[in-house]
Amino acid sequence: MKKKILLIFGLIIFLGCAKKPLVTVAPPVEEVPTVEEKEKPAKKVEMQKTPTIEEMPPVSGITEEKITEEKISAEELIRKQLAEEIKRFEAEDIHFDFDKYNIRPDAAEILKKKAEWLLKNPQVHILIEGHCDERGTEEYNLALGERRANSAKRFLVNLGVDPERISIISYGEERPLDPRHCEEAWAKNRRCHFIVIKY
């Protein structure tokens, strides 16, 4: 009986001794899963309470952005391209000799390009501004600017552009591009400027 008690005691001690190292090593191992198990359900609860705010938004946000970019780019590319073309169309003036309103060969080349583009873009309506240099009287230059714009319009119409799409206006010598008083400035100011008013 004493042996049995001793054995049990010994066993207990042994077990107790054996348990100690087990306890010292194992507890984190044993405890971590329990902690995880305890925390997981807690997290699930939290997620149910405030769904997607912490985790979803950045994720869905990123994908949304990508989608929208892809969707718009096709239309915008066309729009951007048209804007570029309009910019190019408007950037190029044609020029005239002093007191003249006939289309010079260099101006004809530019007008041909413009007509081509206008025929490709039948929705576009334009305004042609006729301008003069400062020499001569204001009234004569108003009349001259109108003739210049009219020459440019007729040239485009002869190349097939619908006259209904082209408006003209004369600014005479009232809106110089270069305000200086020399031949270089005058040559720049004797011009037709083109503006897209509808597209």
Partner: protein, 420 residues
Amino acid sequence: MVKRKYLISFFFLFFSNLCFARVYIDIEAPGQEKIPIAISYFVGERKIALEARTILQKDLEYTGFFEILKPETFLEEKPTLEVDFKKWQLIGAYLLIKGQIKILEKDLEIKLYLYDVYKGIKLLGKRYEGKINFLRYMIHRFSDAIIEILTGKPSIFQTKIAFVYEEKNTKEIYITDFDGYNFYPLTRFKNICLSPRWHPKGNKLLFTSYKKGRPEVYLLDLKKPEVIRLIHYPGLNISPAWSPDGEYIAVTLTKAGYQGIYLTDNKGKVIKCLVRSKGINVSPTFSPDGKKIAFVSDRSGSPQIYILDIASGKIRRLTFEGNYNTSPAWSPKGNYIAYSGMRDGHFHIFVIKSDGSEIKQLTYDEANHESPSWSPDGHFIAFSQNGKIYILRMADGCKFPVLPKLPGRQTQPNWSPYLR
């Protein structure tokens, strides 16, 4: 025989009247000697009396008709209304002006007299009463009365000049007295306004404006005052001109791609097309009898002045010298047309007889002289020279700046009719 006597006496009367009118100043005779005139110091409150005398002296200097005697030579000791003709004969005066100024309760009373020193007679006596700040205008009236007595017609002292004034990229219509006083804007469109044109009665002005984005003709009523958008057909609506009776307007319009000069009624409704061609037709000006129009066209390949006979529709070319002639202005008497023409790279003011003979160049400076406009008496031409308005005296070619201190560019002067 009796008939003949009548004829002779009639002739004598007529001739003597003519002589009287021409005793003093014959406007038509070039290089006439200047008449020595003394302007005595005026009686009355010293400061205003001196100011009044200065205004009168400047007015008389403008005309170029007078040699104004220096006050240092005067033999009178102090201002008086009494006239001792001998004292004035001795210093060589032919004419004498005396005056008195009184400050009444609110107003100013001015009495002014013109004497013929040699005949010893009073030619003119006038009394004016008005607010103190209208002193200039009372003096201007007397100046005009003097010139009317001496030449048969008033001078420019009660006239104004409308012009285009450029400031901060806008052009507005302004108005000034002939001598640069009392200038102010008529429009505040903050846009481009051009080509002011006085109605022959002086109560209205036509002008061109981009107020609605393109050039259209507006009518400004100075009396009301109000602005009406008068002529606004599609295309150009520019360079309006009144007929001498103020009933019609000639204006450049574009119709179906052609530029033409059209006649409208005074409401702007087109009556008929006067001139139309492929090229440019602009800047009409009526002859004083209203039967003809001078205008600018490039039908010969360069801008030249043409004359249209309205009844027959016949057009003849007026200018053949130079390859850029523009901006015609028909003289009040009808015998001349002033215009701006390019010579050696600069624009100058010329006059040409309306039959095309006798061209005279009036300006010579190396500058651009543009937009001539006649004074109603035909003795002066206003024009713009490199952004300043000048007036030129036809008799001797003397040139005066009108608004030398106004900083912005001044262009397109248009001289009013008599505003009396």
